[in-house]
């Protein structure tokens, strides 16, 4: 590791707040776009399935 201990790792020599806020923002962004992609994908599949099932029973 490039750091001697965990405190150094989190502090990053006074740059910790910058580095970690960037990685926090990026993680949240990627998680949000992934979640919206998968939930939309699932939702369309379910909506269509229900519609097809309903059409069959009429």
């Amino acid at each position: 590791m490039a750091f001697d201990n965990l405190t150094d790792f989190f502090e990053m020599g006074r740059h910790g707040v910058y580095v970690w806020s960037v990685y926090g923002f990026s993680t949240v962004s990627l998680a949000l776009i992934t979640w919206s992609t998968l939930s939309k994908r699932h939702q369309i599949q379910e909506t269509l399935r229900k519609r097809f099932l309903r059409d069959k029973t009429i």
Partner: protein, 248 residues
């Protein structure tokens, strides 16, 4: 050279079946690669002698910026393909990828601003590189807004394809902005012809996280295209069979 693959790719049905088993492995491989590159870069790469530890922002900033531009290049080329050959899959691709590209551009802008504060002493300057990337983000937003405001699919396809092609002009401006104008921003990290100007322990993790983000975005793009194909083709028989079969 046989062009059958090209014609096949244009068919939403064929594309759906082809991409179905590909999205999850691509996405998973991308996540693992990205995580590996980031942990290596943030925890193990040596400290920069000038910038200290703030340089570790590079491991997400550069991949996001590369992806934002690559996505736009793909968008513009798809627009061209649609306008010339009327390929059905092209507008589906544009609609699916534009929001992902916008997220990448936003990540590049935000990480760049946060990096700018300790390095340049300011969050933002109106220089050529930063402004042209902001324009890239606004182009993505424009494409998304136009897509959502037009209910007529035929019209939306054409309008979005045209704006995507027109926006291509911004890409060389972004690329050469650091050479044509005076700027605070440094030059390119990776070029095809020269070795990076940093030691391998610094650029190898960057390369890995870039490849990881490429695969992650590709997986997302395939899923989003599948969603759009299901919506657009919901009247056809194969969609019915597909949906009743279950599974992502």
């Amino acid at each position: 050279m046989s062009w059958t693959w090209f014609h096949k790719l244009g068919s939403p049905k064929w594309f759906f079946h082809w991409s179905k088993s590909l999205a999850l492995p691509l996405f998973g491989f991308g996540c693992i690669c990205l995580l590996f590159g980031l942990v290596w870069g943030v925890a193990f790469a040596p400290e920069d002698y000038q910038q200290g530890n703030s340089f570790r922002i590079i491991y997400i900033h550069v991949p996001a910026a590369i992806l934002a531009q690559s996505c736009y290049l793909a968008l513009g080329l798809s627009g061209l393909v649609f306008l010339v050959w009327q390929m059905k899959i092209a507008p589906i691709f544009i609609k699916a990828v534009a929001p992902v590209g916008a997220v990448m551009a936003l990540m590049a802008l935000v990480s760049g601003a946060i990096w700018g504060k300790p390095t340049w002493g300011t969050w933002w300057v109106w220089d050529a590189r930063l402004t042209s990337v902001l324009v890239l983000f606004l182009l993505y937003m424009g494409i998304i807004a136009l897509q959502n405001s037009l209910n007529d699919v035929t019209l939306a396809n054409k309008a979005v394809a045209v704006i995507s092609v027109v926006g291509l002009i911004n890409l060389p401006i972004i690329k050469y902005s650091v050479e044509w104008w005076n700027t605070l921003h440094q030059g390119a990290t990776f070029t095809l012809t020269e070795k990076p100007a940093m030691p391998a322990e610094m650029w190898v993790p960057l390369l890995i996280s870039t490849i990881g983000l490429y695969c992650l975005v590709a997986g997302l793009a395939l899923w989003r295209m599948q969603t759009e194909i299901l919506i657009r083709e919901h009247r056809s028989n194969w969609v019915k069979q597909e949906v009743m079969k279950d599974g992502l």
